[in-house]
């Protein structure tokens, strides 16, 4: 529709202008034709405006939808689906990557339509006006896409990608900037200026080498277009001279010929501009492709009448809080009376490795179990199984005899508090970060959690106390303080089962002591699974499990006596 209207307007504009010019050659002003010309120009202007607006709106909607779908996929598939690389890719894509789609929607797509309708319409019009010129154009016109394909829009896009990569390398400018403190220390900073310059210059030479070829295709296309104008104009002029052609027709041919080539060439150049957007789109669609069998939690067997378990951790707001299998006796948060968690021959296989092999173990209520073993042995996988981030490849996990896979995951997770190795802090206030698992907790409860996590002084030192907004990824807090925020989260969650994944990793001894003391308070009276890489946590455990090469063995007595008496523990 849009393409047809545009084509009609192009022809109308050229026809009226040709008439005006032909009349003007005789010294007359053809007012009607001039008005027609202005009218068609106004029409083209309006059309461009409408088309741009519609395309930009479509782009905005498409981006919003894709963003929502991408983020939804993250939420739906859960953290088990996110690998390290995927995380970065998704964050970039959902953040700024999709904005590159603008060029595709507002530039390439409309131009693609025009490049079909306008040349066709022009050819038809010219056949009626002057068939021999139309023939010349009909022969030369296909040269544009043919040459385009021959020289390769694709190839050019590839070279431009290469060019971008070169620019990115930029002589490793960024690497040098990052290493500046090191260069300073070794007294090489000023000497390296020469190297930066030389590398940038070499980068320029490499870039120019690619560009000389990349621009060649544009040159050929432009030559085809302009030469065919000349090819049409000169014989038409000669035929005019011979009196075989009306001036008006000749002018129409001259004005319409470039219009036939323009959309094709524009589409070609827009194609390059929209490549980035297409790549982003491609990435998004690949990420959104359905995963091969992802054993999800069984459909919630809805019995909405089931009374919500009286739990302080209950969150009335959770939209997904659909009642699960109706079991009343399980999961009594504070009493610790929930029954055993059993791993029955659980094996977890990742695409390349087997994380856990045939693990059978029982976690009794109130037990505090330390998990040790070399890094990469599968310790974290144990916790991720309980969290529902990964599902067993074979075997099963039962809570009070019910398969974990049959439980409503959101409901089950409310029984858990998790302190990961590196908790993610969100760009909100300290209080909201602590409230992550209990968004409606009153301020007094937050303060209580802060005290329990030994954060009172830290919070007091912050400019706005609990309302201080944390910067990018918790910037502004030390690792020890961040870890204690995560502990405060766990305190406020008030869940009966706590899962701690090396909470003291990467902490110096001072911070470790503070985190450790808070950890002691947290695990008191709860069922706890503590992954321990550093030795200090072992003191808290009733039992020690050793994970090595995916196999879990029980260590004999872990009644480890630490040389120093543990500090006073507040239960």
């Amino acid at each position: 529709m849009l393409g047809v209207t545009a084509a009609v307007l192009v022809i109308a504009q050229a026809t009226t202008l040709a008439t005006v010019l032909a009349e003007a050659a005789g010294g007359h002003l053809d007012r009607a034709a001039l008005a027609g010309f202005l009218g068609s120009v106004a029409g083209r202007a309006a059309l461009l405006w409408a088309q741009g607006t519609v395309a930009a709106r479509a782009a905005a909607t498409a981006k919003a939808t894709l963003r929502a779908d991408l983020l939804d996929a993250v939420g739906r598939r859960g953290p088990g689906w996110l690998s390290g690389q995927r995380t970065g890719q998704l964050a970039t894509l959902a953040g700024r990557g999709l904005d590159a789609l603008d060029a595709y929607f507002t530039g390439y797509l409309p131009q693609l339509v025009l490049s079909v309708t306008v040349p066709l319409a022009v050819l038809v019009r010219l056949f009626f006006a002057d068939w021999s010129s139309a023939l010349v154009i009909a022969v030369t016109l296909p040269l544009v896409p043919i040459f385009g394909a021959l020289l390769g829009w694709q190839a050019q896009a590839a070279t431009e990608r290469q060019w971008r990569r070169l620019a990115l390398l930029g002589g490793h400018f960024l690497d040098m900037l990052r290493g500046l403190p090191t260069l300073h220390l070794f007294g090489r900073a000023s000497a390296q200026v020469t190297v930066v310059r030389r590398m940038a210059d070499r980068h320029r030479q490499a870039t120019m080498k690619t560009l000389r070829i990349a621009f060649l295709s544009a040159l050929v296309l432009e030559l085809v277009a302009t030469l065919s104008v000349a090819l049409v104009a000169v014989p038409v002029g000669l035929r005019l001279l011979g009196g075989g052609l009306a001036l008006e027709t000749a002018l129409l041919v001259l004005l319409l010929t470039p219009e036939a080539f323009l959309p094709l060439r524009a589409a070609g150049s827009q194609f390059h501009a929209s490549q980035e957007g297409l790549t982003a789109l491609d990435e998004a669609l690949t990420l959104l492709e359905p995963e091969p069998p992802a054993p999800t939690a069984a459909p919630p067997t809805a019995s909405t009448a089931a009374p919500p378990t009286a739990s302080t951790a209950a969150r009335p707001t959770a939209r997904t809080a659909v009642a699960l299998v109706d079991r009343e006796c399980d999961l009594q948060p504070w009493s610790g009376r929930h029954d055993e968690i059993r791993f029955e021959s659980v094996t977890v296989e990742y695409p390349r490795t087997t994380a856990l092999r045939d693990v059978t173990l029982t976690i009794r209520p109130g037990e505090r179990i330390a998990v040790v073993g070399p890094s990469g042995a599968g310790k974290s996988t144990l916790l991720h199984l309980l969290l529902g981030f990964v599902t067993p490849s074979s075997g099963r996990i039962t809570v009070d005899g019910t398969d974990l896979a049959a439980l409503d995951l959101a409901r089950w997770r409310r029984q858990l508090a998790w302190v990961p190795q590196r908790a993610h802090l969100f760009g909100t206030s300290v209080a909201d970060n602590i409230r992550l698992g209990a968004p409606n907790a009153p301020l007094a409860a937050v303060r209580e959690a802060v005290r329990a996590a030994d954060l009172t002084e830290v919070v007091a030192d912050l400019p706005d106390g609990l309302d201080t907004r944390l910067g990018e990824r918790g910037h502004g807090l030390s690792s020890g303080q961040r870890q204690r925020i995560a502990l405060a989260r766990a305190f406020l969650r008030g869940a009966p089962i706590v899962l701690l994944d090396e909470p003291t990793a990467r902490l110096d001894a001072g911070s470790e002591a503070a985190v450790l003391a808070a950890t002691r308070r947290l695990v008191a009276g709860r069922t706890a699974l503590l992954v321990a890489h550093r030795p200090t946590l072992l003191a808290e455990a009733d039992r020690v499990l050793r994970v090595e090469d995916g196999r879990v063995t029980e260590q004999q007595s872990a009644a480890v006596e630490i040389t120093t008496p543990p500090r006073e523990v507040v239960g």
């Binding site: 504009q13 010019l21 003007a24 050659a25 010294g27 002003l29 120009v41 461009l48 405006w49 741009g52 709106r57 782009a59 905005a60 981006k63 929502a68 983020l71 939420g75 953290p79 996110l82 995380t87 970065g88 959902a94 953040g95 390398l169 490793h172 500046l180 070794f186 007294g187 000023s190 000497a191 200026v193 020469t194 930066v196 310059r197 590398m199 070499r202 980068h203 320029r204 030479q205 544009a218 040159l219 050929v220 000169v234 000669l238 005019l240 001279l241 002018l251 001259l254 997904t320 969290l387 529902g388 969100f426 698992g437 990018e472 030390s478 020890g480 969650r493 003191a539 480890v560 630490i562």
Partner: protein, 649 residues
């Protein structure tokens, strides 16, 4: 509107003005050729209709054909010339930015990785400014002026009408477009930023959200922001595209006006057509300024940041800011005049030139003046201390830290609070304490990376700030917390410590750091790539590489080591620390910052820092003997480590 950033770019671009001018003229030529092609063709047709003799048209026929070819060729050369000139300017800007940062020894360390990434793209903005704003803008202006002149030659009134249209298309609309772009950007930018943060939170924090049942509400928040952004984009789209629509309208209307005026003033019929068609082409060329204005608006933020960074460098301490060769743009220009010559002279003889991108990635440190093959004699940029690390510097240095205090933020707590330390040559001192006690700050002050607010650091009775900048690294050096592994080979990373080192030296240092076995296992040996930020190495290998580089550097006076065994298991940590300390020799002072207390009994003194003050000091035996932080830590660590080894071993 202040044009300071543009002036800065202009000043840097001055050596390449000829090239830029050439590119601009070529661009103008391209546009003119297109305009002339249409105008001549029109003239040809309208004249032919009057049936003159053929030979009056032959010139026009030739001109039409010539213009048709020259337009494409002109465009091709213009794009190449423009890119070449712009890239040359970017080279200059990169070198200047690096030099400006390099000149600030004390603040460079304080920039975060994100800021640096942004700086890199800011520098790229210079290229866009030249290629997408300056060159096409100048070309459109020139074409417009010439078109007005041409039209006025026919009849002044038509020239006036054309000038009016060009002012609308080339000034009013671009200004409007720039204003709209800025206004939209001001409103969209915060939302985009929030959305980017959402994306990071939802992906990086996915596990936290899921475990705490907060995924749904976070998703809802992000979705709401995405919708808000989309709504805003939809609202602004109509206004932005109205400018483009107006452009088309202005072109047609101007053409009609010129035609009417020309007819009224009795211009010959042949020229009326030429004027009308030429006007259309000229106004359309001027409309390129709308796009240029939009680009310019988007680029300004980045350009301003670059200009701010370079401002002090350009106006003030220009000579001291960079090495002589870097400060003299003509030096690089002369070599650049002959690309093949500069290519061969710049290329490292050992580097293959087969893949440009990879070789430029690989040999950036080997291409340094002090390549091992060069020998110390031919190293103009870095002759100090190349061949022999201690060359000319007295081997024994006595350093004193006197009453040093330091605050990073005025209102914040002090990082160091009146710390004094005496470091006679050959002394072994360990600095311990809780995190945030000021341990790393002490090393930063000692190495001159940070200037203390009060107090001073004295080397052999010379104040550190009075020492020549190039001498300090030869006196004091070592492993600091922010040590960087470059995206280069293991050899190049090590050579940074001592440019003239041979393979035996490398092996010696690598052996002491426990890296040698790994190097021998690698198929590429010393030429194994470390990856971006050392990403190809494991944490332990990275740490050993950094340590080996420090040992190779052999600063004459003081060796500082900030957590040198981080990431190593207890057994390896003990061995590496012992051999590194032994490698330092009897004359060199060693200052070790560590959280691990094992092995400190071999140190002369242990200093316990707390909240920027020296809380306790003494030998290991003394400190373990009396109650306090040190004894608590020692007992906890040894006991726990023993138990841990017993259980896990």
């Amino acid at each position: 509107m202040r044009l300071r950033p543009e002036r800065t770019v202009w000043r840097l671009a001055r050596p390449y003005l000829g090239r830029l001018l050439g590119a601009g003229l070529l661009a103008a030529g391209t546009e003119l050729a297109g305009l002339a092609l249409l105008a001549t063709a029109t003239w040809l047709l309208v004249s032919a209709a009057g049936r003159p003799p053929l030979d009056t048209l032959t010139v026009a026929i030739v001109v039409v054909r010539a213009l048709a070819i020259s337009r494409g060729v002109l465009r091709y050369t213009e794009r190449l010339a423009g890119h070449d000139a712009a890239l040359r300017v970017v080279t200059e800007v990169r070198a200047r930015v690096f030099a400006a940062l390099a000149a600030r020894r004390t603040t460079a360390a304080r920039r975060s990785g994100d800021l640096l990434s942004r700086l890199v793209s800011d520098v790229e903005a210079v290229q866009d400014l030249l290629l997408r704003v300056l060159v096409p803008g100048a070309a459109a202006t020139l074409v417009g002026l010439l078109a007005v002149a041409g039209a006025s030659a026919v009849t002044p009134l038509a020239g006036l009408a054309l000038a009016g249209g060009l002012l609308l298309a080339g000034v009013a609309l671009p200004v409007l477009a720039a204003l709209l772009t800025r206004r939209t950007a001001d409103r969209v930018a915060p939302l985009r930023g929030a959305l980017a943060a959402d994306a990071v939170d939802l992906t990086t924090g996915a596990a936290d959200l899921a475990a705490f049942g907060a995924t749904e509400s976070a998703l809802a928040g992000a979705d709401a922001r995405a919708r808000e952004l989309a709504a805003l984009e939809r609202r602004t789209a109509a206004l932005g595209w109205a400018v483009d629509g107006l452009g088309v309208l202005v072109a047609g209307a101007t053409s009609a006006a010129v035609l009417t005026v020309a007819l009224r003033t009795g211009v010959s019929g042949i020229l009326v057509g030429v004027l009308a068609v030429g006007t259309l082409a000229a106004v359309e060329a001027a409309l390129a300024l709308v796009g240029a204005a939009r680009h310019w608006t988007r680029l300004r933020t980045g350009l301003t940041r670059v200009a701010d960074l370079l401002a002090s460098d350009l106006s003030g301490s220009n000579p001291s800011a960079s090495t002589p060769s870097a400060a003299d743009p003509s030096a690089s220009d002369s070599s650049a005049a002959d690309p093949s010559a500069s290519d061969s002279s710049a290329a490292d003889p050992s580097a293959s030139d087969s893949s440009a991108a990879d070789s430029s990635a690989a040999d950036f440190l080997a291409a340094d003046p002090g390549t091992p093959t060069d020998g110390p004699a031919s190293t103009p940029g870095a002759e100090p201390g190349d061949g022999s690390p201690a060359g000319g510097i007295a081997p024994r240095w006595h350093c004193r830290i006197e009453e040093v205090s330091l605050r990073y933020r005025r209102s914040g707590p002090p990082a160091l609070d009146g710390v004094s330390l005496d470091l006679p040559a050959g002394r072994r001192i360990a600095v311990v304490g809780p995190s945030g006690a000021g341990k790393s700050s002490l090393l930063a002050v000692l190495t001159g990376m940070v200037r203390p607010d009060r107090g001073r650091v004295v080397y052999d009775n010379v104040d550190l700030s009075d020492l020549p900048v190039d001498q300090l690294p030869r006196i004091v050096g070592g492993l600091l917390a922010e040590a960087h592994v470059f995206h280069a080979t293991a050899r190049e990373n090590l050579l940074l410590g001592r440019a003239g080192a041979n393979d035996d030296d490398l092996a010696g240092a690598a052996g002491a750091a426990g890296l040698l076995d790994w190097v021998r296992q690698q198929p590429a040996g010393w030429d194994t790539m470390a990856g971006e930020e050392g990403g190809q190495l494991s944490g332990g290998q990275r740490q050993r590489l950094l340590l080996a580089r420090v040992l190779l550097a052999e600063p004459a006076g003081i060796l500082v080591l900030d957590e040198p065994t981080e990431g190593l298991d207890p057994g390896a940590a003990d061995a590496v620390l012992a051999s590194a300390t032994a490698h330092a020799g009897p004359d060199r002072t060693v200052v070790l910052v560590t959280h691990r207390l094992a092995g400190l009994d071999r140190y002369d003194e242990v200093v316990v820092l707390d909240q920027g003050r020296i809380a306790d000091r003494g030998s290991h035996a003394e400190l373990v003997g009396r109650p306090g932080w040190y004894r608590d830590q020692w007992l906890r660590q040894t006991g726990a480590e023993r138990d841990y080894l017993a259980i896990t071993g």
